[in-house]
């Protein structure tokens, strides 16, 4: 690589415990964030904000949530979209009924979703693996049922789809009429910046949990729960903690999905298919990796769009049957996933690690 790690000695505990021990890594991350905050905000188009960047970040957060339960703690879950749904409805009702400011509503929506997650995570204390999938699947169906059967959650809206009006978009500093809120919510830049900031905070929190005792407990339980128990880790507490944090992330992602992305609340979009897609994102991105969660989300969400756009670009829009293009893009995406997982079962995250390792010793062979 262009920088070497050899011969760098840490001189204090504080620098040893840094999240990014290498100065170059820190600069890369800072440069990336500066790029995202300044260059992208200033130059990207509405299409990029609203159809590419925001959904990718939101889905990345949901994937990260599932990754905490599945990748770090080894608890399989198929209820992700259901938990997102709880988060979205919780945020809506908190804003509607308690007139809460949006960042707080996002936070408490996460907490409410997390509590629901604990309830559906309880069976994890007794059962494992595929059996646990069934229990979390129940969360998915429960969400679809409860928001259908009780229109109260939807403010008794008859059509089942609620538009989220501007008075909902109170961020801070008073009412919707302040220029601050107008700038933030009536432009895609604003929504993008809010999504980016929340995503950044959640990633930082996750990174720190993972490299602290909490995360080590998760991984110990994942690798062998009996051994973890023997060395004094409370398996029950760890599992429930993992479920809480995992569904907290999913809940916040669901609230952001409704408020920052679609601008509508509709329980039909949090269906089982989305749970599966998020699971694919985890698998393709890499189990137990933060970067992988986002790479998986970017790939699974973005690749079909890229393929169809490339098809349009090469062949000219309209000359090819869209069903043909669509089915072919599915075949291509499926093939790439299969090849990737055979060549690199650890997903994109492992691919990145291999690349990094190779670059580290470059230009030498090993």
């Amino acid at each position: 690589m262009y920088y070497r790690e050899a011969g760098r000695l840490v001189k204090s505990f504080a620098s040893d415990r840094r999240m990014l021990p290498l100065m170059e890594d820190r600069w890369i991350v800072i440069a990336f964030l500066a790029f995202m905050y300044i260059v992208v905000t200033a130059t990207a188009s509405d299409y990029l904000f609203s159809a590419i960047l925001i959904p990718m970040m939101v889905l990345g957060v949901a994937t990260l949530g599932l990754n905490i339960a599945t990748g770090y703690t080894g608890q399989l879950s198929l209820g992700t979209a259901g938990f997102m749904c709880f988060g979205a409805f919780a945020a809506f009702n908190l804003v509607l009924r308690l007139e809460m400011y949006l960042p707080f509503a996002f936070f408490f929506a996460g907490v409410i979703a997390g509590l629901v997650g604990i309830v559906f995570g309880l069976p994890a204390l007794r059962i494992k693996g595929f059996y646990l999938i069934v229990s979390t699947l129940a969360a998915q169906f429960f969400a679809e049922w409860v928001f259908n059967a009780y229109p109260w959650f939807l403010d008794n809206n008859s059509s089942g789809v609620v538009a989220l009006p501007p008075h909902h978009y109170k961020v801070f500093l008073g009412q919707e009429s302040t220029p601050f809120n107008a700038v933030f919510w009536h432009s895609y830049q604003g929504r993008y910046l809010i999504t980016l900031t929340i995503t950044l905070l959640l990633v930082l929190a996750c990174k720190n949990m993972v490299r602290s005792a909490t995360g080590r407990n998760w991984m110990a339980v994942r690798d062998m729960d009996i051994a973890a128990n023997v060395i004094g880790i409370s398996v029950a507490k760890t599992k429930l903690m993992a479920f809480f944090i995992s569904t907290f992330y999913c809940g916040v992602a669901g609230a952001m999905y409704a408020y920052c992305y679609i601008g509508n609340l509709d329980f039909m979009i949090f269906n089982l298919r989305r749970s599966f897609l998020i699971m694919f994102m985890v698998i393709v991105g890499g189990l137990g990796s933060i970067l992988g969660s986002f790479l998986g989300a970017i790939f699974v969400y973005g690749w079909p769009i890229l393929i169809t756009r490339m098809g349009d670009w090469i062949f000219g829009g309209g000359t090819l049957d869209t069903a043909f293009v669509e089915n072919n893009s599915k075949i291509v995406v499926g093939t790439i996933i299969i090849v990737l997982l055979i060549r690199e079962p650890g997903g994109f995250a492992a691919l990145w690690l291999t690349t990094k390792k190779k670059l580290r010793s470059w230009p030498f062979a090993n």
Binding site: I262, G263, T308, T322, V325
Partner: protein, 447 residues
Amino acid sequence: MKTRVMVLASALVAMLGMSSIVSAEETMYVPIPSYRVGPYAAGGTGYFGGILDYYNLLNARGGIGGVKLIWSECETEYSVERGVECYKRLKDREGGAVFFDPLSVGISTALIETGRADKMPIIAVNHGKTAGQRGDIFPYYFMPGINTYDEHSIMVHYIGGLEGGMENLKGKKIAMLFHGSPYGREAIAFMDSMCEKHGCSHEAIEVPHPGNEQQSQWLKIRKSKPDYVLLRGWGVMNPVAMQTAKRMGFPVSRLIGNIWSNSDEDVIPAGGAANGYQAITTHPAGTDFKVVQDIIADVYGAGKGDLQDKSRLGSVYWNLGVLAGVVHTEALRIAQERFGNRALSSSETRWGFENLVLTAERIEELGATGLVPELNLNCMDHVGGHLAKFQQWDANARQWNIVSDWIEGDVELSQSIIDAGAEKYAADNNIEPRPCSADSNDDDFDL
């Protein structure tokens, strides 16, 4: 290597060739957010196929006021996020789209505010957010045809007709079997007030999704002995309802289906049990219309037809697509009458939709008599039709027969509910209603 260069070169040549053809004449661009794969593909291929077939017919005849339509498709799979992505992707292409019609409540509702900001008409033919009828509050949202409340009042009017007059509904019992979803629930309150007005009693019975088991619901119906059962179904629930009705001895001819229970896909799986089943329709099935015959001759004859399976010509979804094509292009034509025979902007198209009037004579000219209802949209009414017919399924001949003329909905009764919904929306969203009235169409809005 050589072949790769050749392929790239020929692709480049093809692209250049195509773009030069396109730029040769004035065109209007329509984005087609179709869904041709996934669980809703049957509806999507039929509807968007019908639209494109009608556009092709018009283009073959020289376009609209000499301006041809061009389009490109984007697959939504009926999912909201893909639909929104398609909208953002296509809206500025080819000098700007003129309107957007996704045939999905989720997508069109998600785009209401975006459409307002972009000055882009969002079209939802025969469905959509009912409050959107109020054009003063939803200037860029159009649902030409009928809305949910029209649908149910027309069904009650039809039952009144079967009983020999609305006054005979007094004391009659009507049950509504509804799909357990927001779509299913939407009509309950309206049916209550409709029955209150006409003196009938109404009972709503829920069938949980997907509805492939309805024993307990029909036992309930057998106990309460309603005179008619309205079927507000979706998917597999419809044939199962017909079969269970037959098993329980309920006459299928007294089972009346709504808009989403009226296609061939709903009755064919029920086999003989569906014989005599009646359903509301905004547009008859079949190919006995001049415009459909023209499409078959001029578009399919020239090998430009969109449907791969030609037996679906004249099916319920395809005919709805033709109807939508007529509605779209007539709005464009009406806008051209004001702004000149040239390519229009999206807000000029909005004016065309708002002033869309389809008289019986115009429909006759288009060769669509019997297929397309008369429409009269204005600033306060973005639905404008409120008309539907009834059809009855003949299981032996495997075809729908039209059994009624156009019946009008109870616009007065639905208006108060629509007003309440729209005014709440306006208050929530800080929207100042435009000055509109029956005689002012707010002509220069946003131009």
